[in-house]
Amino acid sequence: MFFKFLWHDMSYGIFSRKKKFLAGFCIFFCLSFYHFLTLRIYEITFPEYFSISSTTADYFMALVGGCGVPEIQEGIDVGLTMPVMWLGFMLWMQFVSLYYPFTDLLGFGKHVMLLSGNRSSWWFSKCLWAVGNTAINYILIFLISTLCGLCTGGKLSLQTNWYVARELNMRLDLLTFEDTKNILPFFFLSLLVLIALSLLQMTLSLAISPMFSYFFLAAYLIAGIYYQNAAFLGNYAMAARSDIYISTGLSAGPGILVALWVIFLNVFLGYLLLGHKDLLGGGEG
């Protein structure tokens, strides 16, 4: 039963959503291209940029790197630049996993659960779907930024250059590396955080409604931009706030633990919530 559910979710919830992939491609190709434009203007402002060969990893970092922490002067927070690009990326990733479980719950999923009398298979299948859907969309965005980098003359590499830190409003004197740094550790940490957030959204959707859960998640992510704190998972999905790249950043180790904890907690809580949900009562979202 579980594998039938999973097969259905994978085919209808991921592979048949071509419009979503197309929209994602257009949006993130354009957004990646802005790194090329930024680089050209940096070359005029700082001549040392001419000697740096940009890599495809730079494009990815510029897209999803986030921003440094706000500066505080005389008790007043100044210099907070809202990382709209990062916020758009995070909210897109949440949006692509927002409505499929809910529409399934109101339609096909409800009938199947009632006929089979098996709610746990439906829920665990949706959890695996959320993991798969998030991973596929994330990898797709990575490939789009890589493609954009290659099209605009970037070198194919997983090493990011130091200059991207300037684009992400990071303090250059606090960087943990001199020239280049591998992006793979951040790539996997960010993916884990996105999976945790998408499961949190699914559980919240069951508890309240998908629309409110999305609103709460947006508020939670924005609060995370303001506070560099482990309680706000979004911080771990920002390269500009990670100790991999900046000495004052959050440690990746606790980030992995927090994300795993959120994942298991939400799988369990969602299972309990679904067990008590009135399936015939409907819902308006």
């Binding site: 002067q73 927070d77 897109w92 999305y214």
Partner: protein, 293 residues
């Protein structure tokens, strides 16, 4: 049924809508938390000033105490510079103004309710009525918590006139379009800002309504315009970095504080006019063409 009766009925539905009331409650709670945080900052500064600044026997300060660094005008929700709750409020605004009502057209199309109404008042009146109601829903959702915040903070923090020598605490820089008015008539600026924010949110609430003509998915109708806005903001920000000092983000324009870029009132007026004209034209055009039966 006349057009005005239909409009009255829709406004009644908005005000008695569970989603509207829940969003309003959340925003009012945010206003209260933000207000209490602002009051704590003000009272801590006051206590520190009273303890540290020298006074004569009559209790008069011997040095200028700069008490106006925390005033009503930089403590209410719309005037607090770079604080977390105002940031959440303004940056999630395009999402939450759409939740209460903007997708109701989609729901009425699915349930068939639209046919009953169109039979009685006609297509043009129905779509125009929906447009006006969506605007009112967005306007009320945002303006009521801001008015509440201004009233609530005015009970807690004195309304000292902002002083240009301590402008770091207000974050209303010389490039800001509100600067002159803010330092000369701060209360008027606060009300003007509430009006502008309300106008933006009302106009924004009509965008998901417009999108609902092209999709059957309510989540796409409500949140796709928000994502599109973030995409446009990020695009303008990245494409113009170091090329133009002019602020392009409409969210930064409607906030009194924070932006370090140069405000150009014509950019803002242009963006608002686009926000007014495009949904209005699309609604009237689609409304005329759509076959509701």
């Amino acid at each position: 049924m006349s057009f005005f009766r239909y409009l009255k009925n829709e406004l009644f539905c908005i005000l008695h809508n569970r989603r509207f009331l829940v969003i309003l409650l959340i925003l009012l709670l945010l206003s209260v938390f933000d207000g209490l945080d602002a009051y704590r900052t003000y009272s801590d500064t006051l206590a520190e000033t009273l303890a540290c600044y020298p006074k004569n026997e009559e209790g008069v300060f011997l040095e200028y105490p700069y008490l106006q660094i925390y005033t009503l005008y930089n403590s209410w929700l719309g005037g607090r510079p770079n604080k977390v709750i105002p940031l959440i409020y303004f940056y999630t605004m395009p999402a939450f103004v759409a939740i209460p009502y903007s997708w109701s057209h989609l729901q009425e199309r699915k349930t068939g309710y639209i046919r009953n109404v169109v039979t009685k008042i006609g297509k043009r009146a129905y779509f125009l009525g929906k447009y006006i109601s969506a605007f009112c829903s967005g306007f009320l959702t945002v303006v009521l918590p801001l008015l509440f915040s201004l009233g609530f903070i005015s009970c807690l923090v004195p309304a000292y006139r902002p002083n240009v020598t301590t402008d770091l605490y207000y974050q209303v820089g010389q490039n800001n379009m509100y600067t002159d008015l803010y330092f000369s008539h701060p209360l008027l600026t606060a009300f003007l800002n509430i009006g502008i924010v309300g106008l933006f949110s009302g106009l924004w609430a009509t965008v998901p309504y417009t999108v609902s003509f092209f999709t059957n998915n309510r989540f796409v109708a409500v949140f796709a315009p928000y994502l599109e806005l973030l995409f446009l903001l990020a695009s303008a920000e990245r494409a113009l970095v170091f090329r133009s000092p002019i602020e392009t983000s409409i969210i930064e324009y409607i906030m009194v504080t924070a932006s370090s870029m140069v405000h150009n009132i014509w950019v803002f007026v242009g963006e608002m006019l686009i926000l007014l004209a495009v949904p209005f034209i699309v609604v009237l055009g689609q409304g005329r063409r759509s076959n509701v039966f």
